[in-house]
Amino acid sequence: MAHFTKATSLHDWLNQRLAIDTLRRVLATEYWIPKNINFLWAMGMVLAITFAFLLVSGIFLLMYYQPNVDLAFDSVNYTIMQEVGYGWLWRHVHGVAASVVFLVIYIHMFTGIYYGSYKNGREMIWLSGMLLFVAFSAEAFSGYMLPWGQMSYWAGMVITNLFSMGGLHMDGLVEWIRGDYVPGQAFLNRFFMLHVLLIPLAILGLIGLHFGALRIPHVNNQDGEEIDFDAEAKKYLAGDKANSKVIRFMNDFMSKDMMVVGIYLIFFFYLVFYHYDFAMDPVNFDPANGLKTPTHIYPEWYFLWSYEILRPFSTNVGLIAFAFAQVIFFLLPFLDRSPNAIPASRRGLFKYWFWAMLIDMIILTAMGKVPPAGLFSAIGFYAALTFIGLWIILPFVTKFEKKV
């Protein structure tokens, strides 16, 4: 048995049993962060805080929500909104956070793409991050079903129909996923389970993996500089803080991180209190009706770009293009053939590739929102082709890039 001595304090008592000093050193005070980074490096903490808001608001919503096709709509729109004290606050926090979390995820992703933070040992950070993106997408979709309004029902109908795989007509699979011929009680119950238990569990595990993946390669920096973290840490610990290129994660870096989080939260609560309506589709305030399709079905803004890649093609081609769009970001570390992990601005052609991709995705998002007719239809079609084309040329663009 390990040797224990009489504790001199509560701290010592815990330290002997849980090694809290070592834990603190490894996780916080001697976890090193480069100095040359900017506010975009705070997005991870912004996401963690937003996830915490989703979790807490979700717990309170869960206490009154009824996963039943006859009761769900009223339990949200009447019980939670009208009867429960501050129920509206939890709902608006939950709805706004679910939308804003994707905005921050996209900023976080494009920061990584811009600075090349997905290669040279950082592949697992990128891959675990992409798995988180998929898990958050599934979480957002399953949550969207729960108020059981018209958009919930018809989004559920359309998205589950994707699993018939177009020309393969796997209607049996669609019915299996739904547990019914159309979205009904079985469907609502199982998506409720996914939303409140299975997917959040997966997200928590993936967050652990994402943080763990960061541990050995450390975070990138805005100059693409390769830092010898051991040497710089030694310098710092020896007292030469000014010349060391790194700082402690806690409290030094965290103080800056939380400053950004503070500014973000002002913006966040401005939306919650004054502009929550952007996250609440008016069509979803009509109860689900299986015999009446809303005139214009569109997903939430954060899915519009991939929806627009599905839409302009015939069913099978559209599904293949859509599947391509869903998985292609996973392959980024392997399609980028250049060894340079530096900002896009110093990478020649890749600079233009980056901005073309960002602008194309904004165009796809805008076109996904408008009805599919005339000029918009054409713009959407060419933007979808551009998206696919950009990915096809990426290996060639990066292969001939000069090593910096």
Binding site: V158, N161, W176, R178, Y181, A186, T293, S314, T315
Partner: protein
């Protein structure tokens, strides 16, 4: 060495037991997600075909899905007869012809709307169109509106049962 092979055997034995258990529990999980028998047995719908008006779309309900019934006018039947693909889609009950189909767009399952002046259906989700027999006239839908299993019984139409007319439609590929 002796120990190692013993541990190796124990590991393999555990692997075998766990493998059987994993397959068995996956099967149980799959079955738990299957539609319930009460859902699957969700009966049959009988329609009285003498009650419909010409060129007036009526939406019935079968297994939770909307069913379009459109009685064809003499003019529409004449037009349909010129095109074998169109006339094959119609169901003759008594002397009248009907378009009966599942009212879900074959693209991604939205409900198309009917315009009696244009005699055509438009799906607002992705812009697909169908003519008055339910045949597709503009992509993205890959095929015409699906026809539910039916059986003609005098002036009545039983949905959910497969009559000879429906079986013929399936064989000739008029519907899936």
């Amino acid at each position: 060495m002796k120990n190692n092979s013993r541990r190796g055997f124990m590991g393999k034995a555990f692997g075998a037991v766990a493998g059987v258990g994993a397959v068995a529990s996956l099967y149980a999980m799959k079955r738990s997600w299957d539609p319930l028998p009460s859902v699957k047995a969700a009966g049959f719908t009988t329609l009285d075909m003498s009650a419909y008006q010409e060129n007036e779309l009526v939406t019935e309900k079968w297994r939770g899905k909307p069913i379009f019934v459109l009685k064809q006018s003499a003019e529409m039947v004449k037009k349909a007869q010129e095109n074998p693909k169109d006339i094959e889609r119609l169901i003759k009950v008594g002397d009248a012809y009907f378009m009966v189909s599942i009212g879900l767009c074959t693209h991604l399952g939205c409900i198309p709307g009917y315009d009696p002046d244009e005699e055509s259906f438009l799906c607002a989700c992705h812009g697909g169109t169908y003519d008055y027999t339910g045949e597709v006239t503009k992509a993205p839908p890959p095929r015409g509106l699906d026809i539910p299993p039916f059986k003609i019984d005098g002036m009545k139409l039983v949905l959910g049962e497969e009559g000879p007319e429906y079986k013929k439609m399936k064989e000739t590929g008029v519907t899936l």
